[in-house]
């Protein structure tokens, strides 16, 4: 996913990746006593301070009624793990679009208690993303490596980058051995049984 599209409204309105990412939930706490809230097809009441899980796109519009909190993958505890050794963390298991969601959480429409927490989160994301990118480049250029073991740890944006790097390495190897001009079967051809 292109991170520059995350915060680019209305450019990201029709972006499918952004739509899927905005559907993931974040914890919120109600500011007031809320009545007849229809979140789960049944009218509910929420006391002041009660924890509610709302999708990102809804949480952004309900800033007047709720205070937002960071999901557990973006809290200080998880960030300290990410800072220590970002290459071993399985981001896909925690959040498939980890970096895009992190960037979205820094939106002005969300109201977190302390803006410094948002800055620290972004700094952690920046370091983790850069270090992981270098690690991914190293894995892509390694000759004998199990690609599926690497891919399962990556978030969606990193997977795209990893497959591009693998393709680039293949292109280079083919050029080196002079096989660029050979006509090959297209990958889109369906073989009938």
């Amino acid at each position: 996913m292109d991170l520059s599209m995350v915060d680019r409204s209305p450019g990201n309105y029709l972006d499918l990746e952004d739509i899927v990412m905005s559907d993931s939930k974040i914890p919120c706490r109600s500011r007031f006593h809320l009545k007849n809230i229809d979140l789960h097809s049944v009218p509910e009441e929420f006391d002041e301070g009660k924890k509610i899980e709302l999708p990102l796109w809804l949480a952004e519009s309900m800033t007047e009624f709720v205070r937002h909190e960071f999901p557990k993958e973006y809290t200080t505890r998880f960030q300290s793990i990410l800072r220590a050794d970002p290459e071993i963390v399985n981001l896909h298991r925690h959040e498939p679009k980890y970096f895009a969601k992190g960037l979205k959480l820094s939106s002005e429409k969300l109201d977190f208690p302390d803006p410094r927490d948002t800055v620290i989160m972004l700094e952690t994301l920046l370091e983790a993303a850069s270090r992981r990118m270098l690690w991914i480049a190293m894995q892509a250029s390694a000759s004998k490596i199990n690609q599926s073991k690497v891919e399962c740890k990556l978030d969606d944006g990193e997977k795209v980058h990893y497959s591009q790097l693998i393709a680039q390495q293949e292109e280079y190897k083919e050029w080196k051995t002079g096989r660029t001009g050979i006509i090959k079967e297209s990958k889109d051809r369906f073989k009938s049984i």
Binding site: T118, E127, A129, S130, L134, A137, H161, W175
Partner: protein, 225 residues
Amino acid sequence: MSVIHPSEIEFIAEDELIKVTPRFREQRLQMITGNFGPFAPGVPLKIPIWMALNLKNRGLVIVHQPKWMTEEKLKEWLESENADNTNAIAPLHYHYREISRMLLQNCRDNMSDITEIEQLVEDIWNVRISKLKMSCKNVMKTRWQMEIPDHGGVFKIDNFTQMEVNFIRGTFLKGLNLSFVMSNKITTIEQKAEQHMLGDTTNSSATVPTGSSAMSQFTQSQNQN
């Protein structure tokens, strides 16, 4: 992010001139890139590599091994590269990778020490690429540590060839774009937080006269002027 295919860079390298000895006779050829010839049997001349390979494949020329593409020169180069861990040495030829590949594939019968040259070129490539990757890593490190280097953040890529730069282009540009997006966001949030704090401190410390007292102070200052 689109990356140039290595064969496209090789296409650019094919315009380099190489020494050949023709086996045929032909008058001067007037081409867009220049005039080549006349071709006389046994009389060496320089022609572009694309023409040399075409004529070689038809058995019409003997391609000479370039002076820089010998085992001795390449060994010296490799030793100089290994001696310096951080900076790359000026290459013997800007298109050394592409030209060595083309000549070793198409003109093996005219070359000497083929195996050694192949190995040396590969070793030189690996050493230079590892230096380039280290430099890129250092640049990205300054970005994620939010440091401004002593030289103000202006980086030069010295002594690296187009093929080498293209090899790391995808990862490096993606990393830089990512760091720009994130650091812009960080700067925006920090500036807004500062403005918010400044707005709060201004309101709490200044005594702003209100209503008629403010008007009278304004008229007094006007009268004095």
